[in-house]
């Protein structure tokens, strides 16, 4: 099997039952697997809520390690929309020309460095660095902050050893407390200061609410972006023709980004808590139990996607749900898409080929299902495009 290949462990269950089952810390989860059911459940925010006990819609559950509610992620309409309106314009900044210029400079430097090395371990030396530096643009804080974030390693809440690592979370919480205190004393044009100045329903956000937004911004954009970047490098290493095709026809870059995100589905699924006895794909689910919306499975649904297990970089109609669907669709998608766009354009420009030297998969276990989400580590050699 090619190293960049990401297979679909849900196919059989999706076709036969439409659902999958898994346990998680004695709070089982029924996973909706079909594209239509995932969309239907995501849309039905009254029966399938996000605003449950903080941490419960995350799988594995973070109930025992976190009390702070992540905002707007763990809030339902109508309040969800009120919070979302506060942060939405900020998350659109990646579309601004200056942001793009800065991102190009950052990623260009990372690629130049990679080209100068014999071996690059992509997860830690490339994707983590890229993700952390790019996040300074989203926060609008000094570039040097990325050093601290890089030092936290690849997971903010989760570590390799234990599924849930409270000590890692504390590092993040202490850091955020300090940054908020600093921004109160020195208001500027960073994300913290914007939140401190913001009002919802004519009231300032509380410190607790601000923390909830910040934590989410760190957590939501970390593993997802790292996996998307790493998997893209692995893909282009094994499919050099795809890179050449994008070079010849740059209009395809946008289609390629959406298709890679569909194929990778960096966030496998996300939970909801059920408010009344109901059904998911004709399967009974009880009030106060959990379901999940399995984006990764929906994105391989053959009733929606032709050749779902193939990357077709020119897939024109691609109704994927990798960034979610409806109410809670990903706020960081603009940032993530810009990262991939700049990355691909610079690869086209500077990199001729990439050789994979060795790779170790990162596999998630969801009950009986095992899904590859990316790599624990992958060593590659980047080769420049014009070896004159």
């Amino acid at each position: 099997m090619a190293k960049s290949e990401i297979s679909d462990p849900f196919e059989k269950a999706r076709l036969e039952k439409g659902i999958g089952e898994m346990d998680d810390q004695n709070d089982p989860v029924i996973m909706a697997l079909r594209h239509k059911d995932v969309r239907r459940c995501a849309h039905n925010h009254k029966t399938f809520i996000s605003g449950a006990e903080p941490g419960r819609i995350v799988i594995p559950s973070e109930v025992s390690i976190r009390d702070i509610r992540q905002i707007p992620f763990e809030v339902d309409p109508p309040m969800h929309g009120v919070y979302r309106a506060v942060v939405e314009p900020w998350f659109k900044r990646p579309l601004e020309a200056d942001y793009n210029t800065a991102l190009k400079k950052q990623i260009g430097a990372i690629i130049d460095e990679a080209l100068s090395k014999d071996v690059v371990e992509v997860v830690k030396e490339f994707a983590l660095v890229l993700q952390s530096r790019a996040l300074t643009l989203l926060f609008n804080v000094p570039f040097s902050e990325s050093q601290t974030w890089i030092s936290w390693g690849t997971h903010v809440f989760r570590s390799q050893e234990t599924a849930l690592d409270a000590s890692k979370a504390n590092v993040l919480y202490d850091y955020i407390d300090k940054q908020i205190t600093h921004a109160i004393a020195n208001p500027g044009d960073d994300f913290y200061s914007m939140l401190l100045a913001a009002e919802v329903n004519e009231k300032k956000l509380t410190k607790e609410e601000i923390k909830g937004v910040i934590i989410l911004t760190f957590a939501g954009g970390r593993d997802t972006v790292i996996n998307a970047v790493t998997n893209s490098i692995a893909y282009f290493a094994e499919h050099p023709k795809a890179l050449h095709r994008l070079k010849e026809d740059p209009k395809l870059v946008n289609f390629a980004i959406e298709e890679l995100i569909r194929y990778f589905s960096p966030l496998t699924h996300m939970g909801r808590v059920v408010t009344e006895d109901t059904h998911v794909c004709e399967h009974a689910v009880k009030a106060d139990s959990r379901i999940s919306l399995n984006w990764a499975s929906a994105n391989r649904d053959a009733s929606v996607f032709e050749k779902p297990n193939e990357v077709l970089i020119d897939r024109k109609i691609n109704p994927h749900v990798a960034f979610g669907f409806g109410t809670h669709n990903c706020l960081g998608a603009t940032h993530a898409r810009q990262i991939l766009k700049v990355l691909i354009n610079i690869l086209i420009d500077k990199v001729g080929s990439i050789d994979i030297i060795e790779a170790e998969d990162n596999i998630e276990t969801l009950g009986e299902f095992k899904r590859k989400v990316g790599f624990n580590s992958i060593k590659v050699k980047f080769n420049a495009s014009n070896t004159l």
Partner: protein, 102 residues
């Protein structure tokens, strides 16, 4: 040139012109409020949702199955809903009026 009128949620009318690409791209170029085109036109984000005037519906045409599936669970869906990244800018739609859904 094909002329298209957008009516935003604030009831502002904006007439734009183009002769290539799709309607979402034209709207984004002209900064039409409520049309974001987040997914770049692959029918995944539904941030390009418009309501076609009934009298223009035949010219614009009905959505494909995949497109109507994406619209099915949208809060603002109507029987004249389209994702305008799936509508090409060409003569057949000259003069149509589109109401921005968001």
């Amino acid at each position: 040139m094909t002329k298209i009128t957008f009516i935003t949620q604030d009831n502002e009318s904006i007439i734009v012109e183009g002769n290539s690409g799709n309607v979402m791209e034209l709207a984004v170029q002209n900064k039409i409020k409520g049309i974001e085109g987040n997914c770049g036109g692959v029918c995944s984000c539904a941030t390009c949702h418009v309501h076609v005037q009934p009298e223009d519906w035949d010219r614009v045409g009905a959505p494909s199955t995949l497109e109507s599936d994406m619209l099915e669970f949208d809060d603002h869906v109507s029987e004249y809903s389209r994702l305008c990244c799936q509508i090409n800018v060409d003569d057949t739609i000259d003069g149509i009026v589109l109401k921005v859904a968001n």
